[in-house]
Symmetry: C2
Protein backbone atom coordinates (compact mmCIF):
# COMPACT_ATOMS: atom_id res chain seq x y z
CA UNK A 1 0.00 0.00 0.00
CA UNK A 2 0.91 3.65 -0.31
CA UNK A 3 0.74 4.96 3.23
CA UNK A 4 1.17 8.48 4.58
CA UNK A 5 2.36 9.07 8.14
CA UNK A 6 1.53 12.54 9.45
CA UNK A 7 3.86 13.53 12.26
CA UNK A 8 7.64 13.36 12.53
CA UNK A 9 8.09 12.64 16.25
CA UNK A 10 9.06 9.28 17.69
CA UNK A 11 5.58 7.81 17.06
CA UNK A 12 5.64 8.88 13.42
CA UNK A 13 9.19 7.63 12.95
CA UNK A 14 8.38 4.26 14.51
CA UNK A 15 5.22 3.76 12.45
CA UNK A 16 6.82 4.93 9.19
CA UNK A 17 9.87 2.74 9.69
CA UNK A 18 7.83 -0.34 10.53
CA UNK A 19 5.41 0.13 7.63
CA UNK A 20 8.30 0.60 5.19
CA UNK A 21 9.88 -2.57 6.62
CA UNK A 22 6.63 -4.36 5.77
CA UNK A 23 7.19 -3.31 2.12
CA UNK A 24 4.64 -0.52 2.01
CA UNK A 25 5.53 2.66 0.17
CA UNK A 26 5.65 5.27 2.91
CA UNK A 27 5.92 9.04 2.96
CA UNK A 28 6.02 11.17 6.05
CA UNK A 29 4.09 14.43 6.25
CA UNK A 30 5.34 17.51 8.05
CA UNK A 31 4.38 21.18 8.19
CA UNK A 32 7.62 22.50 6.73
CA UNK A 33 9.99 20.05 5.04
CA UNK A 34 13.06 22.30 5.01
CA UNK A 35 12.62 23.21 8.66
CA UNK A 36 12.17 19.54 9.63
CA UNK A 37 15.27 18.48 7.70
CA UNK A 38 17.32 21.12 9.53
CA UNK A 39 16.55 19.60 12.94
CA UNK A 40 19.35 17.39 14.31
CA UNK A 41 19.19 17.70 18.10
CA UNK A 42 17.85 14.50 19.74
CA UNK A 43 14.86 14.89 22.07
CA UNK A 44 15.03 14.57 25.86
CA UNK A 45 14.74 10.78 25.59
CA UNK A 46 17.54 10.47 23.05
CA UNK A 47 15.25 9.90 20.06
CA UNK A 48 16.76 11.23 16.84
CA UNK A 49 15.52 14.55 15.47
CA UNK A 50 13.59 14.24 12.25
CA UNK A 51 16.43 15.72 10.19
CA UNK A 52 18.80 13.00 11.40
CA UNK A 53 16.17 10.30 11.03
CA UNK A 54 15.28 11.37 7.48
CA UNK A 55 18.93 11.16 6.46
CA UNK A 56 19.10 7.64 7.91
CA UNK A 57 15.84 6.64 6.16
CA UNK A 58 16.14 7.97 2.63
CA UNK A 59 13.50 5.51 1.36
CA UNK A 60 10.86 7.42 3.37
CA UNK A 61 10.36 10.78 1.71
CA UNK A 62 9.52 13.78 3.83
CA UNK A 63 6.80 15.88 2.18
CA UNK A 64 4.23 18.42 3.32
CA UNK A 65 0.85 17.38 4.77
CA UNK A 66 -1.11 17.80 1.54
CA UNK A 67 1.44 15.90 -0.56
CA UNK A 68 1.49 13.14 2.03
CA UNK A 69 -2.31 12.81 2.16
CA UNK A 70 -2.51 12.87 -1.64
CA UNK A 71 0.13 10.11 -1.85
CA UNK A 72 -1.89 7.71 0.34
CA UNK A 73 -3.97 5.19 -1.59
CA UNK A 74 -6.12 4.39 1.44
CA UNK A 75 -4.50 4.69 4.85
CA UNK A 76 -3.16 7.78 6.58
CA UNK A 77 -1.47 7.29 9.95
CA UNK A 78 -2.06 10.21 12.28
CA UNK A 79 0.82 10.52 14.75
CA UNK A 80 0.64 14.21 15.58
CA UNK A 81 0.85 16.01 18.87
CA UNK A 82 -2.78 16.23 20.01
CA UNK A 83 -2.92 20.03 19.85
CA UNK A 84 -1.75 19.98 16.20
CA UNK A 85 -4.05 17.16 15.13
CA UNK A 86 -6.89 19.02 13.46
CA UNK A 87 -4.72 21.81 12.05
CA UNK A 88 -2.43 19.30 10.32
CA UNK A 89 -5.44 17.66 8.68
CA UNK A 90 -6.75 21.05 7.54
CA UNK A 91 -3.38 21.62 5.88
CA UNK A 92 -3.55 18.16 4.33
CA UNK A 93 -6.76 19.28 2.64
CA UNK A 94 -10.24 17.76 2.66
CA UNK A 95 -9.93 16.63 -0.99
CA UNK A 96 -6.77 14.64 -0.21
CA UNK A 97 -8.41 13.01 2.82
CA UNK A 98 -11.85 12.22 1.45
CA UNK A 99 -12.81 8.55 1.64
CA UNK A 100 -9.48 7.54 3.17
CA UNK A 101 -8.85 5.87 6.52
CA UNK A 102 -7.21 7.82 9.31
CA UNK A 103 -5.42 5.44 11.67
CA UNK A 104 -5.50 7.93 14.53
CA UNK A 105 -2.99 7.53 17.36
CA UNK A 106 -3.21 11.07 18.74
CA UNK A 107 -3.99 11.73 22.39
CA UNK A 108 -5.34 15.01 23.81
CA UNK A 109 -2.50 15.39 26.32
CA UNK A 110 -1.83 18.83 27.76
CA UNK A 111 1.52 19.13 29.53
CA UNK A 112 1.31 22.94 29.69
CA UNK A 113 0.62 22.89 33.44
CA UNK A 114 3.31 20.29 34.18
CA UNK A 115 2.95 16.76 35.43
CA UNK A 116 0.55 15.01 35.47
CA UNK A 117 -0.77 16.15 32.10
CA UNK A 118 -4.48 16.80 31.76
CA UNK A 119 -6.63 16.00 28.73
CA UNK A 120 -7.75 19.01 26.66
CA UNK A 121 -10.83 17.09 25.61
CA UNK A 122 -12.37 14.22 27.60
CA UNK A 123 -15.42 12.79 29.36
CA UNK A 124 -18.29 13.82 27.04
CA UNK A 125 -16.13 14.13 23.91
CA UNK A 126 -12.81 12.91 22.56
CA UNK A 127 -10.14 13.97 20.11
CA UNK A 128 -11.14 11.06 17.89
CA UNK A 129 -14.69 12.38 17.74
CA UNK A 130 -13.54 15.95 17.14
CA UNK A 131 -11.44 14.83 14.18
CA UNK A 132 -14.32 12.75 12.79
CA UNK A 133 -16.70 15.71 13.18
CA UNK A 134 -14.27 18.12 11.50
CA UNK A 135 -13.64 15.73 8.55
CA UNK A 136 -16.88 13.82 7.93
CA UNK A 137 -15.62 12.11 4.74
CA UNK A 138 -12.55 10.73 6.51
CA UNK A 139 -12.92 7.31 8.15
CA UNK A 140 -11.37 7.81 11.56
CA UNK A 141 -10.20 4.67 13.34
CA UNK A 142 -8.68 5.30 16.75
CA UNK A 143 -6.17 2.71 17.85
CA UNK A 144 -2.67 2.17 19.29
CA UNK A 145 -3.03 5.29 21.50
CA UNK A 146 -2.85 3.24 24.72
CA UNK A 147 0.69 1.88 24.29
CA UNK A 148 4.14 3.37 23.80
CA UNK A 149 5.41 3.41 20.21
CA UNK A 150 7.80 0.41 20.25
CA UNK A 151 4.92 -1.76 21.50
CA UNK A 152 2.54 -0.37 18.84
CA UNK A 153 4.54 -1.98 16.05
CA UNK A 154 6.03 -4.91 17.97
CA UNK A 155 3.62 -6.18 20.62
CA UNK A 156 5.86 -9.17 21.39
CA UNK A 157 7.95 -6.78 23.51
CA UNK A 158 5.34 -7.66 26.17
CA UNK A 159 5.29 -11.42 26.65
CA UNK A 160 2.03 -13.29 26.07
CA UNK A 161 -1.40 -11.84 25.44
CA UNK A 162 -2.26 -8.17 25.89
CA UNK A 163 -4.95 -6.03 24.38
CA UNK A 164 -5.25 -3.27 21.80
CA UNK A 165 -8.49 -1.37 21.21
CA UNK A 166 -10.12 -0.13 17.99
CA UNK A 167 -12.82 2.58 17.76
CA UNK A 168 -14.50 3.87 14.61
CA UNK A 169 -17.76 4.34 12.75
CA UNK A 170 -16.85 2.45 9.56
CA UNK A 171 -16.71 -1.36 9.78
CA UNK A 172 -14.66 -1.78 6.60
CA UNK A 173 -12.15 0.86 7.70
CA UNK A 174 -11.79 -0.91 11.05
CA UNK A 175 -11.26 -4.23 9.26
CA UNK A 176 -8.45 -2.71 7.18
CA UNK A 177 -6.82 -1.21 10.27
CA UNK A 178 -7.07 -4.58 12.00
CA UNK A 179 -5.07 -6.07 9.10
CA UNK A 180 -2.37 -3.46 9.69
CA UNK A 181 -2.35 -4.31 13.39
CA UNK A 182 -2.02 -8.00 12.59
CA UNK A 183 0.91 -7.22 10.28
CA UNK A 184 2.60 -5.54 13.26
CA UNK A 185 2.18 -8.75 15.25
CA UNK A 186 -1.05 -8.17 17.16
CA UNK A 187 -2.91 -11.48 17.45
CA UNK A 188 -6.51 -11.28 16.25
CA UNK A 189 -7.82 -12.36 19.68
CA UNK A 190 -5.99 -9.44 21.31
CA UNK A 191 -7.60 -6.79 19.07
CA UNK A 192 -10.85 -5.56 20.59
CA UNK A 193 -13.39 -3.51 18.63
CA UNK A 194 -15.02 -1.21 21.20
CA UNK A 195 -17.61 0.20 18.79
CA UNK A 196 -18.08 3.59 17.18
CA UNK A 197 -15.76 6.58 17.45
CA UNK A 198 -17.40 7.76 20.69
CA UNK A 199 -15.63 4.84 22.38
CA UNK A 200 -12.38 6.76 21.82
CA UNK A 201 -13.40 8.55 25.03
CA UNK A 202 -12.63 5.30 26.79
CA UNK A 203 -9.17 4.74 25.34
CA UNK A 204 -8.09 8.40 25.51
CA UNK A 205 -9.06 8.41 29.19
CA UNK A 206 -6.68 5.52 29.80
CA UNK A 207 -3.87 8.06 29.47
CA UNK A 208 -4.32 9.49 32.99
CA UNK A 209 -3.53 6.09 34.54
CA UNK A 210 -0.94 5.36 31.83
CA UNK A 211 1.19 8.36 32.79
CA UNK A 212 1.01 7.40 36.49
CA UNK A 213 1.96 3.80 35.72
CA UNK A 214 4.95 5.08 33.74
CA UNK A 215 5.98 6.96 36.89
CA UNK A 216 5.54 3.95 39.18
CA UNK A 217 7.05 1.35 36.85
CA UNK A 218 9.82 3.65 35.53
CA UNK A 219 9.30 2.22 32.06
CA UNK A 220 6.72 2.81 29.34
CA UNK A 221 7.00 -0.81 28.21
CA UNK A 222 3.71 -2.06 29.63
CA UNK A 223 0.20 -2.80 28.48
CA UNK A 224 -3.07 -4.18 29.80
CA UNK A 225 -4.39 -7.63 29.05
CA UNK A 226 -8.17 -7.68 29.24
CA UNK A 227 -9.21 -10.90 30.97
CA UNK A 228 -12.78 -12.17 31.06
CA UNK A 229 -14.28 -14.81 33.35
CA UNK A 230 -15.55 -17.92 31.56
Amino acid sequence: MKIAVLGTGSVGQTLAGRLAGLSHEVVMGTRNVAESLSRTTPDAWGNPAIGTWATQNPHIKLVNYSEAAAFSDGIIVHAMNGFAAIESLKQAGEANLSGKILLDITNPLDFSKGFPPSLFVSNTDSLGEQIQAAFPTLKVVKTLNTVTNPIMVNPSIIPGDHTIFVSGNDADAKAQVVEVLKSFGWAAHNILDLGDITTARGTEQILPIWVRLYGVLQTPMFNFHLKVAH
Copy 2:
Protein backbone atom coordinates in the same frame (compact mmCIF):
# COMPACT_ATOMS: atom_id res chain seq x y z
CA MET B 1 -11.89 -5.69 63.20
CA LYS B 2 -15.03 -3.61 63.60
CA ILE B 3 -15.82 -2.42 60.09
CA ALA B 4 -18.52 -0.07 58.83
CA VAL B 5 -19.84 -0.32 55.29
CA LEU B 6 -21.56 2.84 54.08
CA GLY B 7 -23.98 2.09 51.28
CA THR B 8 -26.68 -0.55 50.95
CA GLY B 9 -26.58 -1.29 47.22
CA SER B 10 -25.04 -4.38 45.66
CA VAL B 11 -21.49 -3.15 46.28
CA GLY B 12 -22.20 -2.51 49.95
CA GLN B 13 -24.00 -5.84 50.34
CA THR B 14 -21.14 -7.73 48.69
CA LEU B 15 -18.45 -6.05 50.78
CA ALA B 16 -20.38 -6.35 54.05
CA GLY B 17 -21.18 -10.01 53.44
CA ARG B 18 -17.61 -10.90 52.55
CA LEU B 19 -16.10 -9.00 55.49
CA ALA B 20 -18.53 -10.68 57.90
CA GLY B 21 -17.58 -14.04 56.35
CA LEU B 22 -13.97 -13.22 57.20
CA SER B 23 -15.05 -12.91 60.87
CA HIS B 24 -15.01 -9.15 61.10
CA GLU B 25 -17.80 -7.44 63.04
CA VAL B 26 -19.66 -5.51 60.38
CA VAL B 27 -22.40 -2.90 60.42
CA MET B 28 -23.94 -1.29 57.38
CA GLY B 29 -24.69 2.43 57.30
CA THR B 30 -27.70 3.94 55.58
CA ARG B 31 -29.44 7.30 55.56
CA ASN B 32 -32.72 6.05 57.02
CA VAL B 33 -32.81 2.59 58.60
CA ALA B 34 -36.60 2.19 58.66
CA GLU B 35 -36.92 3.28 55.03
CA SER B 36 -34.13 0.89 53.96
CA LEU B 37 -35.69 -2.04 55.82
CA SER B 38 -39.00 -1.41 54.06
CA ARG B 39 -37.45 -1.91 50.60
CA THR B 40 -38.06 -5.37 49.15
CA THR B 41 -38.18 -4.90 45.35
CA PRO B 42 -35.07 -6.33 43.63
CA ASP B 43 -33.16 -3.96 41.35
CA ALA B 44 -33.10 -4.17 37.54
CA TRP B 45 -30.33 -6.80 37.69
CA GLY B 46 -32.20 -8.98 40.20
CA ASN B 47 -30.08 -7.98 43.20
CA PRO B 48 -32.05 -8.12 46.44
CA ALA B 49 -33.34 -4.87 47.93
CA ILE B 50 -31.65 -3.91 51.18
CA GLY B 51 -34.76 -4.78 53.23
CA THR B 52 -34.70 -8.34 51.93
CA TRP B 53 -30.92 -8.59 52.24
CA ALA B 54 -30.94 -7.31 55.84
CA THR B 55 -33.50 -9.96 56.82
CA GLN B 56 -31.26 -12.62 55.25
CA ASN B 57 -28.16 -11.24 56.99
CA PRO B 58 -29.24 -10.56 60.58
CA HIS B 59 -25.61 -10.65 61.82
CA ILE B 60 -24.97 -7.40 59.90
CA LYS B 61 -26.83 -4.63 61.68
CA LEU B 62 -28.25 -1.79 59.65
CA VAL B 63 -27.62 1.56 61.38
CA ASN B 64 -27.45 5.21 60.34
CA TYR B 65 -24.25 6.73 58.93
CA SER B 66 -23.04 8.27 62.18
CA GLU B 67 -23.63 5.10 64.19
CA ALA B 68 -21.84 3.10 61.50
CA ALA B 69 -18.80 5.39 61.42
CA ALA B 70 -18.65 5.47 65.24
CA PHE B 71 -18.75 1.64 65.33
CA SER B 72 -15.68 1.29 63.10
CA ASP B 73 -12.42 0.75 64.96
CA GLY B 74 -10.32 1.71 61.93
CA ILE B 75 -11.78 0.93 58.52
CA ILE B 76 -14.87 2.38 56.87
CA VAL B 77 -15.84 0.99 53.47
CA HIS B 78 -17.38 3.63 51.23
CA ALA B 79 -19.76 1.99 48.74
CA MET B 80 -22.10 4.86 48.01
CA ASN B 81 -23.49 6.17 44.77
CA GLY B 82 -20.97 8.81 43.68
CA PHE B 83 -23.41 11.71 43.97
CA ALA B 84 -24.19 10.76 47.60
CA ALA B 85 -20.60 10.19 48.62
CA ILE B 86 -19.71 13.43 50.37
CA GLU B 87 -23.17 13.99 51.85
CA SER B 88 -23.17 10.53 53.46
CA LEU B 89 -19.83 11.29 55.10
CA LYS B 90 -21.11 14.64 56.35
CA GLN B 91 -23.98 12.77 57.98
CA ALA B 92 -21.50 10.27 59.43
CA GLY B 93 -19.85 13.20 61.19
CA GLU B 94 -16.26 14.41 61.18
CA ALA B 95 -15.69 13.24 64.77
CA ASN B 96 -16.70 9.68 63.90
CA LEU B 97 -14.43 9.66 60.85
CA SER B 98 -11.33 11.35 62.23
CA GLY B 99 -8.16 9.29 61.94
CA LYS B 100 -9.97 6.36 60.35
CA ILE B 101 -9.36 4.78 56.95
CA LEU B 102 -11.92 5.22 54.20
CA LEU B 103 -11.68 2.32 51.74
CA ASP B 104 -13.32 4.31 48.96
CA ILE B 105 -14.95 2.41 46.08
CA THR B 106 -17.18 5.23 44.81
CA ASN B 107 -17.08 6.35 41.19
CA PRO B 108 -18.31 9.72 39.89
CA LEU B 109 -20.69 8.17 37.36
CA ASP B 110 -23.50 10.33 36.02
CA PHE B 111 -26.21 8.36 34.21
CA SER B 112 -28.61 11.33 34.16
CA LYS B 113 -28.12 11.86 30.42
CA GLY B 114 -28.37 8.17 29.57
CA PHE B 115 -25.74 5.82 28.23
CA PRO B 116 -22.80 6.14 28.16
CA PRO B 117 -22.55 7.75 31.58
CA SER B 118 -20.23 10.72 31.99
CA LEU B 119 -18.07 11.48 35.02
CA PHE B 120 -19.23 14.39 37.18
CA VAL B 121 -15.64 15.02 38.21
CA SER B 122 -12.61 13.97 36.16
CA ASN B 123 -9.41 15.01 34.40
CA THR B 124 -7.94 17.64 36.77
CA ASP B 125 -9.72 16.33 39.88
CA SER B 126 -11.34 13.15 41.17
CA LEU B 127 -14.01 12.08 43.60
CA GLY B 128 -11.29 10.52 45.74
CA GLU B 129 -9.53 13.88 45.99
CA GLN B 130 -12.78 15.72 46.69
CA ILE B 131 -13.54 13.39 49.58
CA GLN B 132 -9.99 13.74 50.94
CA ALA B 133 -10.22 17.54 50.67
CA ALA B 134 -13.62 17.64 52.40
CA PHE B 135 -12.45 15.37 55.25
CA PRO B 136 -8.75 16.10 55.86
CA THR B 137 -8.51 13.91 58.98
CA LEU B 138 -9.88 10.88 57.14
CA LYS B 139 -7.33 8.63 55.41
CA VAL B 140 -8.86 8.07 52.00
CA VAL B 141 -7.63 5.01 50.11
CA LYS B 142 -9.24 4.57 46.70
CA THR B 143 -9.37 0.98 45.50
CA LEU B 144 -11.61 -1.72 43.99
CA ASN B 145 -13.45 0.90 41.88
CA THR B 146 -12.25 -0.64 38.60
CA VAL B 147 -13.96 -4.03 38.94
CA THR B 148 -17.51 -5.27 39.45
CA ASN B 149 -18.44 -6.20 43.01
CA PRO B 150 -18.19 -10.02 42.86
CA ILE B 151 -14.61 -9.66 41.58
CA MET B 152 -13.77 -7.11 44.30
CA VAL B 153 -14.13 -9.72 47.03
CA ASN B 154 -13.29 -12.83 44.99
CA PRO B 155 -10.66 -12.08 42.35
CA SER B 156 -10.33 -15.77 41.46
CA ILE B 157 -13.51 -15.34 39.38
CA ILE B 158 -11.01 -14.16 36.72
CA PRO B 159 -8.45 -16.92 36.15
CA GLY B 160 -4.77 -16.11 36.70
CA ASP B 161 -3.20 -12.75 37.41
CA HIS B 162 -5.02 -9.44 37.09
CA THR B 163 -4.46 -6.09 38.69
CA ILE B 164 -6.07 -3.92 41.35
CA PHE B 165 -4.94 -0.36 42.04
CA VAL B 166 -4.53 1.55 45.31
CA SER B 167 -4.34 5.36 45.65
CA GLY B 168 -3.93 7.35 48.86
CA ASN B 169 -1.81 9.83 50.78
CA ASP B 170 -1.19 7.73 53.90
CA ALA B 171 1.26 4.83 53.55
CA ASP B 172 0.07 3.04 56.71
CA ALA B 173 -3.58 3.34 55.65
CA LYS B 174 -2.70 1.87 52.24
CA ALA B 175 -0.83 -0.98 53.92
CA GLN B 176 -3.92 -1.81 56.03
CA VAL B 177 -6.17 -1.70 52.96
CA VAL B 178 -3.74 -3.97 51.12
CA GLU B 179 -4.18 -6.50 53.97
CA VAL B 180 -7.95 -6.37 53.44
CA LEU B 181 -7.43 -6.90 49.69
CA LYS B 182 -5.19 -9.87 50.38
CA SER B 183 -7.84 -11.34 52.67
CA PHE B 184 -10.26 -11.14 49.72
CA GLY B 185 -7.82 -13.19 47.64
CA TRP B 186 -5.84 -10.51 45.79
CA ALA B 187 -2.24 -11.71 45.43
CA ALA B 188 0.31 -9.19 46.67
CA HIS B 189 1.97 -9.00 43.24
CA ASN B 190 -1.37 -8.00 41.67
CA ILE B 191 -1.94 -5.04 44.02
CA LEU B 192 -0.38 -1.90 42.56
CA ASP B 193 0.15 1.27 44.61
CA LEU B 194 -0.21 4.14 42.13
CA GLY B 195 0.77 6.85 44.60
CA ASP B 196 -1.12 9.62 46.33
CA ILE B 197 -4.86 10.28 46.12
CA THR B 198 -4.46 12.36 42.94
CA THR B 199 -3.83 9.06 41.14
CA ALA B 200 -7.52 8.27 41.71
CA ARG B 201 -8.01 10.39 38.57
CA GLY B 202 -6.42 7.52 36.70
CA THR B 203 -8.59 4.75 38.09
CA GLU B 204 -11.85 6.74 38.02
CA GLN B 205 -11.18 7.50 34.35
CA ILE B 206 -11.01 3.78 33.62
CA LEU B 207 -14.81 3.77 34.02
CA PRO B 208 -15.45 5.22 30.53
CA ILE B 209 -13.79 2.23 28.88
CA TRP B 210 -15.18 -0.12 31.52
CA VAL B 211 -18.79 0.69 30.64
CA ARG B 212 -18.05 0.22 26.92
CA LEU B 213 -16.34 -3.11 27.57
CA TYR B 214 -19.38 -4.24 29.55
CA GLY B 215 -21.44 -3.44 26.45
CA VAL B 216 -19.13 -5.30 24.07
CA LEU B 217 -18.47 -8.32 26.30
CA GLN B 218 -22.04 -8.50 27.66
CA THR B 219 -20.66 -9.30 31.08
CA PRO B 220 -19.11 -7.22 33.86
CA MET B 221 -16.88 -10.13 34.86
CA PHE B 222 -13.61 -8.81 33.47
CA ASN B 223 -10.50 -7.04 34.62
CA PHE B 224 -7.17 -5.82 33.31
CA HIS B 225 -3.86 -7.51 33.96
CA LEU B 226 -1.03 -5.01 33.82
CA LYS B 227 1.88 -6.64 32.01
CA VAL B 228 5.38 -5.18 31.93
CA ALA B 229 8.24 -6.06 29.56
CA HIS B 230 11.28 -7.56 31.25
